[in-house]
Amino acid sequence: MATDLSDLVTRADVCAVAVADCFRGDGEILANPIGTIPMIGGRLARATWEPDLVMTDGEAALIANDEAVPAVADRRYETYNPYRTMFDVVWSGRRHVMMGATQVDRFGNQNIAGLGGTPQQPRTQLLGFRGAPGNTINDTTSYWVPQHGPRVFVESVDIVTGVGYDRAAALGPEASRFHEIRRVVSNLGVFDFETPDHAMRIRSLHPGVTVDEVVAATGFELVIPEEVPTSRLPTSDEFRLLTEVIDPKNTRLREVPQSE
């Protein structure tokens, strides 16, 4: 390439690659990233170094397409996967879901149900528990936060929908043996729980993001390694797949806009 790749790569591309890296090593499981960039990142992982991942069309089928959201007529179906079957997969442990989080705390507890008030009468009703309890107690889970801020990354979530490490530890080794919160990917960086007490740690920050910026945007004390890595850029091949095959309409830039 004549142009330096780093001049072309957007924050959204870095996020997509960071999502893809969450699925590294997963092998033949159902990679179920929910959201625009999560789906793009999951497709990228499968199109490159995790070819055995199984992925949905967002509805009731598992499809082979590399495109993030192929038209119905273009879908290459692998198998039928209605909701009933999805629960079979979830409860079998053969899934890694990436969910959103209205709130997430230092141990990876997630809230998508309600804010403020009381559990029975929240000030702000959100989606509900959806499948979060079942996902987190049965399978590897990661989270995607497109707008990193102190109201999302909170000291303590208002109600626990997705189970974090402190809750899992309290259950004991048997009940928590299938629990893993692998990563949190945000528009600012990548976070993991690979610390002695599973408190959230900066794994890498996206190019141009400072530690101070992330600390200010986080409502609890992050574990900060001595050397904070910079999130990697896509390889030239990954960049080509992102821009030409997986997301040629650049929908990822709508979820994480490129600031000038």
Binding site: G35, T36, E59, A60, A61, P82, Y83, R84, F87, V90, W91, G100, A113, G114, G117, P119, Q120, Q121, P122, R123, T124, Q125, L126, L127, G128, F129, R130, G131, A132, P133, G134, T136, I137, N138, I159, V160, T161, G162, V163, R167, A168, A170, L171, E174, A175, S176, R177, F178, H179, T251, E255
Partner: protein, 306 residues
Amino acid sequence: MSETETYPAPKDKRLTEDEVVAQLRSGMTIGIGGWGSRRKPMSIVRAILRSDLTDLRLVTYGGPEVGMLCAAAKVSHLTFAFVSPDVGPAAVLEPHFRAARQSGAIGCTEVDEGMLLLGLQAAAWRVPFIPTRVGLGSDLHLVNPALKTVTSPYPGPDGGDGEELIAQPAIHLDAAICHLNVADERGNAAFCGPDLYFDDLLLQAAAQRFISTERIVASGDLVDAAGDITRLRINRLFVDGVVEAPNGAHPTSCEPEYGRDEAFQKAYLGTAKEAEAWDGFRSEWLSFPTEADYQAALAARPTGDA
């Protein structure tokens, strides 16, 4: 024996929406089929909206029917994992449901999506509960205080004591209502879209079982009408009444017959900010004396107008 002995005719289970509603009672626990804003039995919901029924306890993978019934003050309790109009790249929230929850107008039992499946399955199988790992460690007990755990009578994975699991109780329904693509007059029915969702379990978990359908065909024509025998997933053992309701899931989707009426749903979702807006919408669209009048009014809309 008489030479002219007459045999009983097979049951003809065809009903109108209003005849279904006449069999329902205030205070009943009613399961509603479909998922989000997909294949909801809206023609029967509209009949409930124009009825005197009140104090209903709903169990559903919720969509606009929940919001409409809450806004019309028909609901006292809701068992739910989500209520979503299903639009947009990110999940949009259901404003009428939110208003009812936030004001305390309805009581709620919250469940994980899979727990709802298990609760219906337990009721369908006539067992008191099904054990599951789902719910352990979460705050579900705060919004589902009746939820209990059970200790496995079998050795744990390490050979020691049995595991403690959530005992998801059976969710018994007084009535279930679902919308299917095609049915016969005896209550056999098929789904022709992407997913049956949990319509079969809702019907199996209910004392009174009603379906609406896009069209009724002769029993012998069901396979051809559905395209394949594997789509014939609802059978008459679990259906007491069938309502022929073309476009009956409107404004929710009923693939492949029709998609969601996004403009109509958007207009509905926009009525939560002021009571007058909802009252106006209700009187314009949800107060017709019959479903046929509703469908005629829909058909008479200028193209592109909600």
